[in-house]
Symmetry: C2
Subunit: 161 residues, 2 copies
DNA sequence: TTTGAAACAAACGTGGC
DNA sequence: GCCACGTTTGTTTCAAA
């Protein structure tokens, strides 16, 4: 599926990504168009799948989720069914925000979020280590956040117009 | 700062996290309250910092950002200024979505998103490897997504009410 | 803290350029 | 494609309980 976004579409995506409460009216002011085309472009962007969803971004720390851990996992075997079963089980853990099969010296890289180190210890002991396919586990405990964003940089799209 | 959220607040956060376009009216129907209390609870949740922002979640693949890479980085030295300078520089790269200082056998763990492997190669060559504090780099190239979500599981809050 | 109603603003649809 | 207006729907405030 090709992407034929123009300058205005890209700008709309950037602005809504920063603040989805921005109204069509505000957008129309900033982009020198009236509300109707803005409104229709947004609907198009939703319809064509550029916008997946609108969500409230919560403050993890404020809610008590203070510990992020990256986990490099190696499995015992590498047959298709081993890989699939591992993913299936890991998916069910709400602590796991991300799980990717990777190329490199692990089979999977996970990102989990928990209340604290103790909760991580409990998670490994009572959930992760019970997965029968599991081989080795390497933990990277976040001790300081340098950068964290969900915002995708769309600058690269502009250079292709 | 303590967190004194009740059952209704937790439910509101969960629902808005899934879909921030849900109206106060819809919420009031689901939670058996009228619009005003819902409205005021949302404002309180925003004011007290539980809700950081409202954002449009974009579809990375649809936009052409198909490659995720985790990078384990070791620096040449570990003085405070080394660590800080590295973070400062990495922050400026729009490809880098996350950067944490970690405990484990790396100093930092990064998550970057790019168009493809070639773009990753260019990123390393023209940006990452030019950071003078950089020691070793280990890449974990995502080859299959098992799970990816931004949604925090708030179930743990309920068990503490 | 809630309800219900009323004022206001935004979202959405239609017709004309 | 866009603009301008009109209707519907949601947001926000306020009196009253």
């Amino acid at each position: 599926m090709k992407n034929n976004l123009d300058k205005v579409d890209i700008r709309i995506l950037e602005l809504l990504q920063e603040n989805s409460k921005m109204t069509a009216k505000e957008l129309s002011g900033r982009l020198n168009l009236s509300q109707t085309p803005i409104f229709e472009r947004i609907k198009k962007l939703e319809r064509e799948g550029y916008i997946k969803n609108y969500m409230a971004e919560l403050n993890e720390r404020r809610l008590g989720l203070k510990q992020i851990v990256f986990i490099g996992v190696t499995l015992k075997g590498h047959t298709r069914s081993y890989l699939e079963k591992f993913v299936e089980k890991v998916r069910e853990f709400p602590e796991v925000l991300e799980c990717y099969q990777v190329a490199g010296n692990y089979d999977f890289m996970l990102k989990v979020i928990l209340e604290d180190i103790e909760a991580y210890q409990v998670f490994v002991e009572t959930k992760l280590s019970l997965i029968s396919e599991l081989g080795n586990v390497n933990s990277y405990i976040a001790i300081k956040k340098g950068k964290q964003t969900h915002k995708l940089d769309l600058g690269f799209l502009r250079s292709r117009l």
